[in-house]
Amino acid sequence: MSGPSTYEPKSGFTRWLDDRLPIIRLGWDSFVDFPTPRNLNYWWTFGGILAVFLMIQIISGIILAMHYVPHESMAFDSVERIRRDVNFGWMIQSMHANGAAFFFVAVYLHMFRGLYYGSYKAPREILWILGVVIYLLMMATAFMGYVLPWGQMSYWGAMVITNLIGALPFVGDAIREWLWGGFSVGQATLNRFFSLHYLLPFVIAGVVGLHIWALHVPGNGNPVGLDVRKGDSGKKDTLPFHPYYTVKDGFAIIVYLMVFATFVFFMPNVLGHADNFIEANPLSTPAHIVPEWYFLPFYAILRAVTFDIGPIDAKLGGVLAMFGAIAILFVLPWLDTSRVRSMRYRPLTRWFFIFFVLACLGLGWCGAKNPDDLVFVMGHDAEGHEVGFKFLWFGQLLTLYYFAYFLVILPIMGIIEKPKERPASIEAAVLGTDKS
């Protein structure tokens, strides 16, 4: 799509087709001849991996939907029937449930890649924003999908998350009832979640199309963060996508699938929660309600706000912080004031980025723990109970850092930091000493 097309139809039929619907030309220009920076490392393979996982989820999901019954008294047993009596149902169900987790692992690595190499900066702001839209859609899809097996964690997770909406002032209760289709999570909720869970992946596929379109206008970023040069010298900066990156992405996809298969076939349930093998029971609340692991950092941010802020009570504050943690990604391209894309040439910010990754992992840890549990013990109180540094405080500290990274560190660093000297071009970076 960038640059003139090099496709030449070879047969009579393809010439005829090319004059009417140049779809082969589109494929050729996008995935065969597409000029790609020659220095992409393995962090750039997660886009292809994500495309594969979107397909795995859609195909396995369509088969599951043929056997699943979205009814509050039959959903749980219908999932067990898939696992027990449907031919290869145990495998398809395991691929779908673990596939969601591996989808999120890949999307998080893809996003951290973008954050480290400045992939959100001009001229790729729209590309980045579309990515955040996909991420939001993925979260909604995964959340509703987790409700469908109608286990204890499905039901109570749905209860906790939908109740958050009720924290909104004035309209919260009305919106919550509208989402539920009743006065609690029940049959109507399950049925509409099933419908939406089937719809949203196709919306994701559509936005992925836009995401790839927006990628193919400016082309890929790259580890040194330099633009591909204009004109003939640009050819020395790039390689055609095929065969160079089809084979490299292909290798990465297979290695990733091996890790995936290890989970699907040898530990299909370790990423889930034992309570979800107990059928949903509105009269019995589990001891700990936790979301799926990929939501834990946001769960920690939600629970970090335990104090009223002026007219905003703690519950609403937590909800705003949680949604704000995602919303802030939309404006990130304008918060980072540095024109240097790659963190390789930003000696200070690079460290702040590494701490940001650790903060996200730490928030995930906090989300999995009871806020009153102790990170480390500092002594005993008069009654002999252990006292120390609570996970609540740890989560609050990390939440502060999460927001400070975007709102304080990135805006200021662009002004005060002196970037390292960058190579003259991608070609120079490849041929020169910079090979890290």
Partner: protein
């Protein structure tokens, strides 16, 4: 090498697993045991010709001990004769034809109907029937058990953290309550149960409680282990097919990965990058 990054991604996933499973109650953590089905090659087979004697003994313990209070709703008699089941026999590819399974099913009386007169009636079971529940409804189960509801056992191993280790620990973990423990009437002390007070009396309490058909000595530990293995099978009846297919898939992907890696080296051989 840059491969390290991809491996790091896998390890990150494993690390998150550890976090997610770190959520436990305050009960004593069960000891980790080596099971016949543990590991990537573990199966339920313990006989010289692939027989599954331990599953058969575990079924016997379920029938003679557990079944008086606990249902097994998701298991039908035919499941006992399907591949990797307790009475899997390659002569009967269709488990409904398995003579042992037919015999076990016929020993149960199953409610059926209505017949042409509109009456419900009882008939001997067939392989397609499911294990009948000991109580007709939850209220009846609670009334017979001092208000407590004996859970269905079909998924019990997957529905408890630590799985089989927990079930075994619970079955063998009864003891004297420590000083100061409040036990209501009809409650018993078990250090592996959250809170310590459990409404189930020690179900397996003396050696020889079951007389094994295969002559194995029925110690308390043996019975607890056998029934735990049986319940693990009931939770996950396709485990053997899952593992054997997993090995094939990994082998295939491994060979495929090597070939694609060699192709990658070939394609990029003359390109500086």
């Amino acid at each position: 090498m840059k491969m390290v990054h991809i491996i790091a991604a896998g390890l990150a996933a494993l690390g998150l697993t550890a976090t997610a499973s770190a959520l436990e109650g305050d009960a004593h953590a069960p000891e980790k045991r080596e099971w016949i089905f543990s590991g990537p090659f573990g199966t339920y087979a313990d006989g010289d010709h692939g027989e599954r004697y331990q599953l058969q003994r575990g079924l016997q313990v379920y029938q003679e001990v557990c079944a008086s209070c606990h249902s097994l709703d998701l298991i039908s008699f035919r499941n006992l004769g399907q591949a990797a089941g307790p009475f899997w026999d390659e002569r009967f590819e269709n488990p409904n034809d398995n003579t042992v399974v037919m015999q076990i099913a016929a020993n149960y009386q199953i409610w059926d109907g209505p017949n042409d007169d509109g009456d419900m009636f009882q008939r001997p079971g067939i392989p397609a029937d499911y294990f009948p529940a000991p109580f007709e409804n939850e209220q009846m189960a609670r009334a017979a058990n001092a208000g407590a509801l004996p859970p269905d056992l079909s998924l019990i191993v997957k529905a408890r953290s630590h799985g089989a280790d927990y079930i075994y620990a619970l079955l063998t973990g009864y003891g004297e309550a420590p000083e100061g423990t409040d036990l209501s009437p009809g409650q018993y002390y078990n250090e592996y149960f959250t809170g310590g007070a459990i409404a189930m009396a020690a179900p397996i309490s003396f050696d020889g409680q079951v007389e094994y058909a295969d002559g194995t000595e029925a110690t308390v530990e043996q019975m607890a282990e056998d029934v735990t293995v049986f319940l693990a099978w009931a939770s996950d009846p396709h485990m053997e097919a899952r593992k054997s297919m997993g090995l094939m898939v990994l082998l295939y992907l491994f060979v495929f990965a090597i070939l694609v890696y060699l192709a990658y080296r070939q394609v990029w051989a003359n390109v500086e990058h």
